[in-house]
Symmetry: C2
Subunit: 217 residues, 2 copies
C-alpha cells in the first residue's frame, strides 16, 4: 500500500513537472529567457516559489531544460528534412527553408534559443545541440560527397560551418531591434529573402549545384 501511494505521488510529480515546463516554455516564447523568473512561474503554476525548487534546483537548470526540449523539436524537424529520400542538394535546401520558417513562426523563442544572453547552463546545452545539428549536416554531406553532388574536403568542419552560418544568419533578423523595426513598419528582410540568401550561401559553400529558379520549390 505504501508502494502504491509512492507511485501515485511520482506520477503526480511528473505531471506537475511537465506542466511547469510547459508554462516556462510559454513564458520564454512570449518574452525570452529574460521573462522567465522562478517567482513569476510559481505564481502562474499556483504554487509557492519554494515548492518550485522541489522540481528544479535552480533557474539555470529549468532554463536548460526548456532549451533542450524546444531545441530537440528543431533537431527532429531538421533531421526529418535532411534525412528524406532524394537529391542531397534539394534536401539541404529544404532543410534550411524549413529551419528558417520554423524560426520565423516563433521569433522570440527562436532568438532565445539561438542567441539570447542567458545562464551558463543554457550555453552548455547550446554547445551540445550545435553538435547534434552538425551531426545531421555531416551525414548529409557525407552522402552528398559519396554521390558526387557536394565537394567538401573536411566533412565535420564544413558541417560545423553550416550550423554556425545558419544560426548567425538568423540572429539579426530575429533580434529584438529587427522585430521592433518591423513592428513600426520599417523595411527589414522577410523570411523569403533570408532563407533564399541562406540557401545560396550554404549550397555554394559545400560546392553543390545551385538551384535555378524553375527547379526551386
Amino acid at each position: 500500500m505504501a508502494y502504491r501511494i509512492t507511485e501515485a505521488r511520482l506520477q503526480r510529480d511528473n505531471a506537475q513537472r511537465e506542466r511547469i515546463l510547459e508554462l516556462a516554455q510559454a513564458q520564454v516564447a512570449e518574452g525570452g529567457f529574460a521573462a522567465l523568473t522562478m517567482q513569476g512561474l510559481a505564481e502562474q503554476a499556483g504554487m509557492a516559489t519554494g515548492s518550485l525548487y522541489r522540481y528544479f534546483r535552480s533557474k539555470g537548470q529549468l532554463a536548460a531544460e526548456v532549451f533542450a526540449r524546444a531545441s530537440q523539436r528543431e533537431v527532429d524537424a531538421l533531421g526529418e528534412a535532411l534525412g528524406a529520400p532524394g537529391d542531397p542538394t534539394r534536401r539541404l535546401a529544404d532543410g534550411l527553408h524549413r529551419f528558417a520558417a520554423r524560426a520565423w513562426e516563433s521569433r522570440q523563442l527562436a532568438f532565445a534559443l539561438i542567441a539570447e544572453p542567458v545562464d551558463p547552463e543554457v550555453d552548455e546545452q547550446r554547445l551540445i545541440f550545435r553538435e547534434a545539428y552538425a551531426e545531421l549536416f555531416a551525414n548529409l554531406l557525407e552522402e552528398g560527397v559519396a554521390r558526387g553532388v557536394f565537394q567538401v574536403s573536411q566533412i565535420h568542419l564544413s558541417a560545423a560551418c553550416l550550423v554556425g552560418a545558419i544560426a548567425e544568419a538568423l540572429v539579426g533578423p530575429l533580434s529584438p531591434p529587427a522585430r521592433a523595426a518591423r513592428d513600426v513598419g520599417e523595411t527589414t528582410l522577410d523570411l523569403e529573402q533570408v532563407s533564399q540568401a541562406l540557401v545560396q550561401f550554404c549550397l555554394r559553400a559545400v560546392g553543390a549545384p545551385l538551384f535555378t529558379q524553375e527547379n526551386k520549390k
Copy 2:
C-alpha cells in the same frame, strides 16, 4: 591640494584596475572563464576579495571586460587583414588564415571567447562583437561585389553567415576534448587543415574565385 590627492588616487586606481584585468586575462588564457574566480584573482593581486569589488561590481562584469578587451584585439587584427589593399578574395583568405592562426596560438583563450559557457554579461558582449566582425566582412563583401569578384545578394546576411561559420568551425578544434585528444597524440585536424577548409567554405559561399594551389600563399 585635495584635488591633487584625488587625481593621484584616480591614477593609482586606474593602474590597479589595469593590473587586475591583465591578471584576469592570464587566468582565462590558462583555464578559461571557469578558472576566473574573484577569490583566486584577489589572492593573485594581493588584495582582499572585498577590495576587488571596488573595481568590478561582479564577476560577470569583470569577465565581460576581459572578453571585450581580448575580442577587440581580434577585431583589430582581422580588420587590418580585411582592410589591406589588394584583391578582395586574397584579403578574405588572408583574414581567415590570420584569424584561425591567432586562435590556434592561444587555444584556451580563443575557446573561452568563442564558446565557453559563461555569464550572460559575456554572452551580451559576444553578440556585440559578432556584429563588429560582421561589419568588417560586410565592408569587404560590398567592395568585392562592386568590383565584381564576389556574388552576394544579401551583403549583411552573408557577412553574418561568415562570422557564424568561422566561429563554429573553430569551436570543435579548440574545444577541451580536441585539445585533450591532441595531448595524448590522437590525430586531430591541424591548423593548416582547419584554415584551408574554412577558406574554401567561405570563398565559395560568397561566390569568389577559389585560389589554386600556386597562387595560394
